[in-house]
Amino acid sequence: MRVHLGRRLRVATTLGVAAALLAACSGGGPASGSSTKLSDNKIVLGVLNDQSGPYSQLGGKNAVTAVQMAIDDFKAKYGAKAITKNITVISADHQNKPDVAKTDAQQMYGRQQVDAIFDVPTSSAAVAVADVAKQSKRLYFNISGASDDLNGKSCNKYTYHYAYDTNMLAATTGIAATQNGDKNWYIIYPDYLFGQQMRDGFSAAVKSAGGTVVATAASPFPNPTEDYSSLLLKASTLSSKPDTLGAMQAGADLQNVVKQYNQFKLKDKGIKLVVGLMFITDINSLGPDALAGTEFTDPWYWNFDQTNRAFADRFEAKTHSRPTFAHAANYSAAMNYLEAVQAAGTDNADKVVAGLDGKHINDLFLRNGTIRAADHLVTHDTYLAQVKPSSEVSEAWDYEKIVATIPADKAYAPPSGDCHM
């Protein structure tokens, strides 16, 4: 009898824990109310991103703070004239898994009555959310997902691709580095949609600028052992020796690659490092000397001008961290969405889209920005940056020297033929 009791207790405990975990993972609740202007008398913005894994530093919870700042600024700007005072932000951790992202997005648009989803790093997850947005006929502002599928074959009326894409990174960093003499590339990339597109984009860019790609190699994503040493060792033993290592990993993965690149002294072996995508949080974590001289593309830099700096100061007061370009883009997208709702006088997605399409915008994040109606890519000026050595860093987080401004029309490719709205 005791045995039975013990076993029953054990099953009950397991179920209890499972239930508690499930309960902790969900949140929110149904709400009611109606209005002539707004579908449910309120606006709910949803931030869906990585809040605990390799991409949690570049966006994460601080992206939620950025969207909240946009809401606060919008309310302060319009005061009593605002379409509603009831504007809130909710968030969820998609753990960089497309299936989790899809379920979260369905829940946000459904039960949690979210009007627009923001952020969504990890391209494979971003593409999944774009599909949900299309089916739900609700808006999705992709910020951190880089795949050009989002404005190519996965494009749709309700998805905007903000901030950057893989084509843009390849066309700027890839061509600039090759023209500066990096001719023979060995490209390592994380083995999922983003990494594969970065590999293809950079390979094409390097070739078009007169270089060659001697080899490419994939690393697992996510990489449980965080070990890139085998791929790095391979660089110096390739039959045709590369002079450039193109690292397409991002976030914490990139930090591991750089640490190990420095340890294996590839620079001394004549192999220069070029990174495909880097956030200022990566430089801060590694220390500028680990990356000094590295050129990369930054769509936005906090210390570029007074406007950026003022935002960065407010952001730092709340988060104790300077904003990445993704944080600034989340703010800008949320602000432009709220402005569009205010202008349209409704949160009806089709009417908001009509207001946004083709719009030219200059704001905190977008300089010479255009919301392209053809494929919903949001183009703007981007910057070729170089990491300063610590001797030139004059204050905390002052890590970048802007080498060149790349005008929007040069940075972004024209709409692809794969996009059918």
Binding site: G6, R10, T13, T14, V17, Q51, S52, G53, S56, Q57, G60, K61, D191, A217, A218, S219, P220, P222, N223, P224, T225, E226, D227, S229, S230, L231, L233, K234, S236, T237, A252, Q255, N256, K259, Q260, Q263, F264, K265, K269, T281, N284, S285, L286, G287, A290, H320, S321
Partner: protein, 291 residues
């Protein structure tokens, strides 16, 4: 050919981390029957320990190498006495859930205090260079990691095979009731063995700080690989877990260098499945071994 040699040495260096973590897991499982899910979190604590010793106390890497394992040894013993011991008489599931909970608490606490952002940590200047033998060039620091892991494994083996404590631990691992019946106070050794396992994880964490991004979740995924290593080697088999740790390191390194990416990613789990099918007790485990 020097490429192959480099990859092999590299595999041994990576395998050193698996070996040290697997060794700790194996002795804890053998002695207490506890599957310590918090092992990855203790590894992470080791790396943050090194960071704190360097940035808050201003002491170099070498101090961390000595201090952090000692602190974690004491913390491990306290943890065993305070909670783990209360649950060991019950179903192993209880301690598994408990250590899982401890993992979440530790990760959240570190994230809260240090943030999700990786904390910078440079290798010690003495080992920043590379070792060159002819065309063979390899970072000195990684050779050092391999050396420390091999030394720890040999020391553990020596302690188990040649000392009185080792005899008690081995006897208590294989036949706890019989050992107790022979008048040996098994309980006396349970707490220090748990502390030792945790200290080893901490030492591996200190060694990892210069090679890897120091983040709150650095142990979360690694522990899955180490579990697979322990299962392949044989749960509770000390020699098995160490040898498997090094072997997996080498095989993964070769696979990443010479095979398509997917092989390197799947290798360890395919091996685990194969071993479970053919020899469920693991390569070095005995059929009578618990579980």
């Amino acid at each position: 050919m020097s490429g192959f040699l480099e990859q092999t040495v590299n595999g041994l260096a990576s395998g050193g981390f698996y070996a040290m973590l697997a060794l700790g897991l194996a002795v804890i499982f053998g002695m207490l029957g506890v599957v310590n899910f918090a092992h990855g979190a203790c590894y992470m604590l080791g790396a943050y320990g090194a960071y704190v010793v360097l940035h808050s106390l201003g002491l170099p890497f070498w101090w961390a190498l000595g201090l952090v394992p000692v602190v974690l040894f004491l913390a491990g013993m306290a943890l065993e006495r305070a909670v783990i011991a209360r649950l060991t008489p019950l179903d192993p599931l209880y301690n598994f859930l408990l250590t899982f909970g401890i993992t979440l608490v530790l990760q959240a606490a570190i994230t809260w205090h240090f943030g999700p952002t990786a904390s910078p940590y440079e290798p010690p200047v003495e080992l920043a260079g590379a070792v060159r033998v002819g065309s063979f060039v390899y970072p000195a620091y990684r050779l050092f990691v391999f050396g420390v892991a091999a030394a720890c494994s040999l020391l553990a083996w020596w302690a188990l095979a040649r000392t009185r404590v080792g005899v008690v631990v081995r006897a208590a691992t294989e036949r706890p009731e019989l050992t107790r019946a022979l008048g040996v106070n098994v309980a006396r050794w349970v707490t220090p063995v748990f502390g030792f396992g945790i200290a080893l994880a901490g030492l591996a964490g200190v060694l990892a700080a210069p090679v890897q991004a120091v983040t709150p979740l650095m142990g979360a995924d690694l522990i899955i690989v180490v579990f697979a290593v322990v299962v392949i080697g044989g749960l509770g088999s000390i020699i098995g877990s160490v040898l498997t740790g090094f072997a997996i390191g080498v095989l993964t390194s070769w696979a990443q260098a010479y095979a398509p990416a997917v092989v390197g990613q799947l290798l360890i789990f395919v091996l685990m499945a194969a071993v479970l099918l053919v020899r469920p007790a693991g390569l070095f485990g005995t059929q009578e071994a618990p579980l």
